[in-house]
C-alpha cells in the first residue's frame, strides 16, 4: 500500500499526480477463502479489516453485488454519536467512538471525523426532565453529556429559532460534545484500502445467489461469478438481510423500511454542530462542501425502493425551516433513500446463527453509520473466535425469543417505530 502523507503528496505533485497507484485491487474471486463477508459497505469492509488486523486472518473475500459503499454507507447523514443510555448499547457505541477517534491514523486515510457535538433539542418541561435524566445515565456510564439552557443554545447556535411562539418552542438541549460527523464515503474507501493492503480480496459486481450448507455447516456461497468455498460466512447486508437468510431458512425479526435524506445547495458555513429534534423529526448538519444535510423519520411503510415519497420530504423540510427560518431561502438540491433493516427492538443483531459458520450482522435501524467501526470490530471477533465479544453478547439473535430485548426507545415490537 502506498502510504498517504505530506511527502507522498509532494512527490506526486512533482509528477503531476499521474503516478498514484489504485487504492485497492479488483481481483477475480479465488475458489476458496477462510472467511467470506457478504456486503461491501462500511460494516463488511471494517469486519474484513479487523479480521486481518486483530485476528491474523487475511485469506478473506468481501463480496458486494453493487459497488463499495453504494448502499446505506453512502446514503446516511454522516452523524457519529454514542449517547445511548441502555448498558448493552452504551459500551458498544463507546467502543465505536474510541475507534472513530483514531480511524484516520489507523487507516492512513482521512475520514474527516469532526467531533463538532450533537445537540438533541428539548421542547417541553417534561423533555427537560427526561433529557437530564438521560444525560445523568450517560455520565454514570462514562459517556460525555452536557445540558444546554436556552441562553447556552442562543450563543452556541445563533440561527436557531428560539421564539416562544414557535410551533415547538425550544426549552433546552442535551449535547454530546465528542459526537459529530465523518465523511461517509471515505469510511468505506479507507477500510477497503487498508483491508486490501492486508491481503483481503474485495470483489464488486458479485451477487450472492445461494448459500451452500451441508450437515448444518457452511461450505460456501453461490455467486454470479461462480461458487466460492468458505467455512465461515459473515453477512452484513443491511436492508437485504431477510433475503440472504431466506437462503438458509432462517426467519429474522426484521422489516425493511425506507429512510430518506436530502441536501440543500451549498452555502457558506452557518452551522458548526449537529442539531436534532425528536419532537419535529429532523436532524441537520452542514457538510464540508457547505450543503445543509438533513433527514427525518422513515416513510413508515415496508419498502425496498431506495426512493421515497413527497409527504415525508415535505415534513422534514418543514421541520428544518421551523428550527432554522433562515434555511427556508435555500433550494433543495438532492433527495435520496436507503433501505433500513429495522429490528423489532431497535437494536442490532451481531451473533452466530443455528448454522455453523454462518454469522449475522443486521438490524441497524437508523443507526448503522455511527456503529461502523465498532460493528466491524466485534463482528470480526465473533467470526474469528466463533463466539460473541462481551461488547456484543446482548445483541444476540435469540433475545427476541428469551425476552431479553434492548428497547432503547421503549416502543415495543413494531419495527417502524424504532
Amino acid at each position: 500500500m502506498q502510504n498517504y502523507s505530506i511527502f507522498s503528496l509532494a512527490r506526486n505533485a512533482l509528477s503531476h499526480h499521474k503516478n498514484w497507484t489504485e487504492a485497492w485491487r479488483s481481483p477475480d474471486p479465488k475458489p476458496e477463502y477462510d472467511v467470506v463477508i457478504i456486503g461491501g459497505g462500511g460494516h463488511g469492509l471494517a469486519t474484513a479489516f479487523y479480521l486481518a488486523k486483530e485476528h491474523g486472518i487475511s485469506n478473506i473475500a468481501v463480496i458486494e453485488k453493487g459497488w463499495l459503499g453504494g448502499g446505506n454507507t453512502g446514503r446516511n447523514t454522516t452523524i457519529v454519536r454514542s449517547n445511548y443510555a441502555i448498558e448493552g448499547n452504551a459500551f458498544f457505541y463507546e467502543k465505536s467512538m474510541d475507534l472513530w477517534r483514531g480511524m484516520t491514523q489507523e487507516l492512513n486515510y482521512n475520514v474527516m471525523f469532526s467531533p463538532r457535538g450533537v445537540i438533541n433539542l428539548a421542547h417541553s418541561d417534561a423533555q427537560i426532565d427526561d433529557f437530564q435524566r438521560r444525560g445523568n445515565a450517560l455520565r454514570l456510564n462514562g459517556i460525555d453529556a452536557q445540558w444546554l439552557s436556552r441562553d447556552d443554545l442562543k450563543k452556541r447556535v445563533p440561527l436557531l429559532n428560539m421564539s416562544p411562539d414557535a410551533r415547538f418552542p425550544i426549552t433546552g438541549g442535551l449535547e454530546q460534545p465528542r459526537a459529530g460527523t465523518a465523511r461517509h464515503d471515505a469510511v468505506a474507501w479507507g477500510y477497503a484500502r487498508a483491508a486490501d493492503a492486508r491481503g483481503v480480496d474485495i470483489i464488486q459486481q458479485c451477487e450472492v445467489t445461494g448459500l451452500k450448507i451441508e450437515g448444518g455447516r457452511m461450505t460456501g456461497v453461490e455467486t454470479s461469478r461462480g461458487f466460492i468455498a468458505a467455512k465461515k460466512v459473515g453477512v452484513a447486508v443491511a436492508g437485504h438481510s431477510t433475503q440472504i437468510f431466506d437462503m438458509a431458512g432462517i426467519r429474522l425479526p426484521i422489516e425493511s423500511h425506507l429512510l430518506q435524506a436530502m441536501v440543500s445547495e451549498p452555502v457558506k458555513p452557518s452551522l458548526d454542530t449537529v442539531i436534532t429534534s425528536g419532537a419535529s423529526h429532523v436532524y441537520i448538519s452542514q457538510s464540508d462542501k457547505g450543503e445543509m444535510v438533513f433527514g427525518g423519520d422513515l416513510d413508515f411503510y415496508n419498502s425496498f425502493a431506495q426512493r421515497g415519497n413527497y409527504p415525508t420530504i415535505e415534513h422534514v423540510v418543514a421541520a428544518c425551516c421551523e428550527l432554522f427560518p433562515t434555511y427556508s431561502r435555500l433550494r433543495l438540491m438532492r433527495t435520496w433513500g436507503g433501505i433500513m433493516d429495522m429490528s423489532m427492538d431497535g437494536s442490532p443483531i451481531i451473533d452466530k446463527t443455528t448454522i455453523e459458520g454462518l454469522y449475522i450482522n443486521a438490524g441497524w435501524c437508523y443507526g448503522g453509520f455511527k456503529a461502523t467501526p465498532g460493528s466491524g470490530w466485534v463482528f470480526a471477533h465473533t467470526i474469528a473466535q466463533d463466539r460473541p465479544h462481551a461488547l456484543n453478547e446482548c445483541f444476540s439473535l435469540d433475545r427476541f425469543q428469551t425476552g431479553h430485548v434492548l428497547d432503547e426507545r421503549g416502543a415495543g415490537p413494531v419495527a417502524k417505530l424504532h
Partner: protein, 92 residues
C-alpha cells in the same frame, strides 16, 4: 403515492397510516403457545422483496382500515379491499 381507499377512492399517501403486515394473525389462545411460537408471531417477519399484503388506515379521511397488496420495490398497488375482502392481482 396514491392509495385507493375502498370507500373514498384514490387519495394522497399523506392521508393514510400504515399498519403493517396483513398476513399476521393473532393466535386465538396465546397462553398455549411456546416461547418459540410466540416469538414467531410477535417478532419474525417474512419481509418479502416484492408483493406485500398489508393493512392501511385512511386516518385523515374515513378512518376505516383496509387491506392492500403493494409491491415494495415499485410502490405499485395491485388491489385494495375492505378487511374481510380477498386481495386480487399482483404476485405475477
Amino acid at each position: 403515492m396514491l392509495i385507493k381507499c375502498p370507500w373514498c377512492g384514490d387519495r394522497s399517501l399523506a392521508e393514510f397510516s400504515y399498519q403493517g403486515d396483513a398476513t399476521i394473525i393473532r393466535p386465538s389462545d396465546p397462553l398455549s403457545l411456546s416461547d418459540n411460537q410466540w416469538n414467531e408471531y410477535l417478532n419474525l417477519r417474512n419481509n418479502p422483496k416484492g408483493w406485500h399484503d398489508e393493512i392501511w388506515q385512511h386516518l385523515n379521511g374515513c378512518r376505516k382500515h383496509f387491506k392492500a397488496r403493494r409491491n415494495v420495490v415499485t410502490h405499485e398497488i395491485a388491489d385494495t379491499k375492505p378487511m374481510d375482502g380477498s386481495l386480487q392481482g399482483g404476485r405475477s
